[in-house]
């Protein structure tokens, strides 16, 4: 189990109306093959920007991102397109294609590669089965529930048989019960297919439930990383502390209000 994603000194500054905005300020991170790695940070911390840099949607100003030993920041456009086969991405607001059926959403990345029809059909049905959408293949995403939509999003990313799945707040728009189902799905995908998952979120629950190791993103830097249990019980950073404090407070509150009945 070596490092699968290695990020060195990653910097990204956006030019905004009110001047340059440095969002990533020297990110160092390493994710091992086959793990579910959590990245937590407040909203606006730069989590999505980091995710977008990893799959080439955003070009960093400086630094290196190695995925399976390959530096994705130095790839040509065409090479990047190839590389993206190995990097699946799942989004908070699903970003499904409303003009296409669930079937065609899932089939998309094979369609653009002009995959043979029967192979495509077989793969779509396989992945749909895996995420529990076999009954919904002819529906349009517009008529699905949030959880079902995210299943489509996951299936669409999985069909290309990626080695790594980036989940950018995949459960943040879902209710707690659906969140749990989607996290279970991600965990089983990780286990059965050995797909490395980069789980980006602002929900500590999600990380505690799914991840082995985690990192805390604050001020454009990774200020803490390590085993989830360690950070939970002994956070060294302000964000880490705040998150765990809020987390434990919620638990206490629940307990107290329960006790009051």
């Amino acid at each position: 189990m070596g490092d699968y994603i290695e990020i060195h000194d990653l910097n990204k500054t956006f030019q905004t109306r009110s001047g340059p905005l440095q969002v990533l300020n020297g990110i160092d991170l390493s994710v091992q093959k086959g793990e579910i790695f959590g990245i937590i940070g407040f909203s606006g911390a730069g989590k999505s920007t980091l995710a977008r840099c990893v799959n080439g949607l955003e070009k960093p100003d400086q630094g290196r991102i190695l995925v399976d030993g390959k530096d994705v920041t130095s790839l040509s456009k065409k090479q990047m397109r190839e590389e993206r086969r190995h990097i699946g991405m799942v989004f908070q607001n699903f970003n499904l294609f409303e003009s296409k059926t669930v079937y065609e959403n899932i089939a998309y990345s094979l369609r653009i590669r002009h995959e043979k029809k029967d192979l495509l059909d077989q793969k779509v049905k396989e992945v749909a089965e895996l995420v529990g959408l076999s009954e919904k293949l002819s529906s349009y995403p517009g008529g699905l529930s949030g959880g079902q939509k995210q299943r489509v999003g996951i299936a669409r990313a999985l069909i290309g048989e990626p080695d790594v799945l980036i989940s950018d707040e995949a459960t943040s728009a879902l209710d707690p019960q659906t969140t749990l189902q989607i996290l279970d799905l991600l965990k089983s995908i990780n286990k059965e297919k050995g797909i490395t998952i980069l789980m980006i979120t602002h929900e500590l629950d999600a990380i505690k439930y799914s991840c082995d190791r985690m990192a805390v993103l604050e001020g454009g830097k990774i200020i803490e990383q390590g085993k989830v249990v360690d950070i939970f019980h002994n956070p060294h950073s302000r964000t880490g502390e705040l998150f765990t404090k809020v987390f434990f407070q919620f638990q206490n509150d629940e307990f107290q209000s329960g006790a009051g009945i």
């Binding site: 977008r52 799959n55 949607l57 397109r81 190839e82 993206r84 086969r85 990097i87 699946g88 991405m89 989004f91 607001n93 970003n95 499904l96 294609f97 409303e98 003009s99 296409k100 998309y108 990345s109 369609r111 653009i112 590669r113 529906s139 349009y140 995403p141 517009g142 008529g143 699905l144 999003g153 669409r156 990313a157 290309g160």
Partner: protein
């Protein structure tokens, strides 16, 4: 029959008479023909222009201000020309294409030229409405630029593109009436020749009925189609 010497309701009754419709009827087909052909030309070129605009836009496929800027200017200039002036400008162009500057086909060129820039802007704004996240998703799945435009961007915008197209087709209908003054034939020609020059207000009224019906039909067809697509997609 003129309103100046005949009671209003008599003019109205006469406007439904067979004699009037014998003359107005064929003109309806001229108008429909001009509208359909101009709309097809406008659709193809306007869509292409809209795609160029969005392709080179800051939030588009590849930000290319050096193309987007001048091209935007070009379209704005065309848009700022009143339709009448556009027809006059297109007379020499039409002559070079058809060998004549009068008649239905030359006016089609002028009508299309006048409506293309408007439709291009409509296409642009319809495409800009598509959520950026979908484009990101398409990219993350390994799409080429062409995949993104033709498999995602345009299909996602179809209901909005239909609505924009409906509006511009209605613009074309009203412009065919104007083109009637330049020998294009059709309803506008009848309205001007009889209604304006000879005070035959019954014929003018008949022309108005036709225009109202055509516009209503176009709008309803557009709404139905757009709603049908949205219903099919579970969006309403």
């Amino acid at each position: 029959m003129s309103l100046e010497n005949t009671p209003f309701w008599e003019v109205i009754r006469s406007s439904f008479s067979a004699a009037i419709w014998k003359e107005v009827g064929p003109a309806v087909w001229d108008t429909v023909y001009m509208t359909v052909v101009s709309s097809i030309i406008m659709f193809i070129i306007g869509l292409a222009f809209g795609i160029i605009l969005i392709w080179t836009d800051k939030g588009g496929i590849r930000a290319t201000p050096i193309i987007n800027g001048p091209f935007g200017w070009f379209i704005n200039i065309l848009r700022s020309l009143p339709q009448m002036i556009m027809i006059i400008i297109m007379i020499p162009v039409a002559r070079s294409i058809f060998g004549q500057s009068y008649g239905t086909n030359p006016c089609i060129v002028a009508i299309a030229a006048s409506c293309i820039p408007m439709y291009a802007r409509m296409v642009e704004s319809s495409l800009l409405e598509v959520e950026k996240g979908k484009i990101d998703a398409a990219r993350s799945l390994g799409s080429t630029d062409l995949d993104i435009v033709f498999r995602v961007w345009i299909p996602e915008a179809i209901p909005s593109l239909i609505r924009g197209f409906t509006v511009t087709v209605i613009g074309i209908i009203s412009m065919t009436a104007l083109a009637g003054m330049f020998g294009a034939g059709g309803i506008g020609d009848i309205a001007v020749r009889y209604g304006y020059q000879r005070f035959q207000h019954d014929k003018l009224l008949a022309c108005i009925y036709v225009l109202i019906v055509i516009v209503q039909l176009t709008q309803s067809a557009g709404n139905l189609l757009s709603d049908h697509v949205r219903k099919k997609r579970g969006l309403m």
